[in-house]
Symmetry: C2
Subunit: 306 residues, 2 copies
Amino acid sequence: MRRLDNIDLRLLRVFVVLADEGGFHDAQIALNLSQSTLSTHLAALERKLGGQLCERGRAGFRLTPFGESTLAAARRLFDDIEGFHVRIGQDRHRLVGRLRIGILDGVVTNPHLGLQTALSRYMDYAAEVFVDLVLGTPQELEQALLDGERDVVIGAFSQKVPGIAYIPLHREPQALYCGRGHKLFERPAREIGQADIEAALFSVRGYRHFDDLYRVNHPRASASIVQMEAQVMLILSGHFIGYLPRHIGEDWVRRGQMRVIRPESYGFESAHFVATRRLKGERPLIDAFVRELRAVAGSSSPEPVR
Amino acid sequence: MRRLDNIDLRLLRVFVVLADEGGFHDAQIALNLSQSTLSTHLAALERKLGGQLCERGRAGFRLTPFGESTLAAARRLFDDIEGFHVRIGQDRHRLVGRLRIGILDGVVTNPHLGLQTALSRYMDYAAEVFVDLVLGTPQELEQALLDGERDVVIGAFSQKVPGIAYIPLHREPQALYCGRGHKLFERPAREIGQADIEAALFSVRGYRHFDDLYRVNHPRASASIVQMEAQVMLILSGHFIGYLPRHIGEDWVRRGQMRVIRPESYGFESAHFVATRRLKGERPLIDAFVRELRAVAGSSSPEPVR
DNA sequence: ACGTTACATCGATAAATATCGATACAAACT
DNA sequence: AGTTTGTATCGATATTTATCGATGTAACGT
């Protein structure tokens, strides 16, 4: 089926900006598009509308009579479109404002959580929301939530802080890895004993220092990281073992740069939550986003943990 | 840059048809889309608009209040869009009506003519034109043109008929081919002599019967075709040699199913024209299409041959 | 209870659209 | 005459969108 649109609103908007800016130079800055893209769009619109909209080139930029009438008609049409939104009553539900999200580092890339998908679906109807997104450690994120600096945070939170509601989204498998060059890399799994683990240099997640140590009965950490990229780097150096979410680790395994170490013994799952402050009143921006997160994580997850 | 459109007109049109038809069954017929496509479109529109438009399922189809207001607002918006066209004065140049095109068989796939591109560009601004397209032989096409049954025809016309204007578009290389299994298929080119050609079963283009015979000094044709597909079939059978436009033949050569026979000796070029009747008065539908054909064929070709 | 029907979802493929850097061309400027 | 500037075109890549068949689910009809 051919496109049902008989005009292309995007091309009209490009044209309006071009006309307002009086040329490609300022318009490409305003629209963050290259000069060649603008040229192509303008030409496409002219073909679709069947007339030349403007004269442009070294001699300058000037609207033709057809361009003048099109510019006026386009503005009128944008008003009509605005009226459409008003008529369907969208104004009442319009999501406007700022959504401040905090995400535990290393979680963004988790395909099961589908954070990008959730955000994309949210932006479908909340395009006017300004999204402010940072990565951080669990402590930082929970603190920011309590301090009112973040509206919603996502990650693995082990303790339940009063005043915060936690909605489980997903349980993420984690495993112990070493990189190519590490003495355990080529060792058959059955020949890797507890002593080998304890003898290996161990890199812990700073915010899970003792958890990680206790999990493998390691006497002491030799490195501490916060970002998963840093953990990846340390492991890839071939000198450390350490924990990674499996969705990250398996990528490197596929590339032949890491191997997982006895996941049946040392693997575990961390529960991921979306957390918000317990507050009175409606918070449509936050609630809508949480709804999308839950929908995409594919869970009809239980009510928030008390 | 994200899409500038904040609504999607196509999805609105799908919704309107769904509402009018009262369900997916009739709507998929009306729109020529599958049921799953309609479902996906409706869901996407609901997400974008932030509300449920209708209840549907085995229990029946019923608009919600939001759907009712959206339906009315959509119709109003389509009127506004119509108004946009009127305001930019497109009505005066509106191309409406029927364009009856005739094309010589085997020419449609010629990449140098770019017929699809020309038609696509034409339809960009002439979407309301009903295109009636047939394939035929040169004689059929010229006759249909003279009889007023075709508006514009494209192909290789060897004779200039009075009352018809010919605009050259492109010169198309033709060559002699045989298929795998033919005794000439594996023969080195330098070992293929005139006697071999004359001994081979020869398939001619019915409308170029004697031209084709004279071109290779062949005593007599053993088959005669009109459609290039038929020629392809005969050659592929491994029993005939025959002429094909090179853009068709080379495809089969690449697949190892045909080989070209001494193109330096037996190849030639046929000149392709777009032909229209010489008539008084304006013919915007035809002229616009001819303009696109010429633009795409990349020629600032000379004036029509007298 | 079972079969049928209407829609939703999934995974996949194809087509359309957007984008850009490099280069060409023409006009203005020096 | 040479340089600079503004736009057009080309070829390429990436992203988005459209589409569908298969399958699942739920409600209706028998």
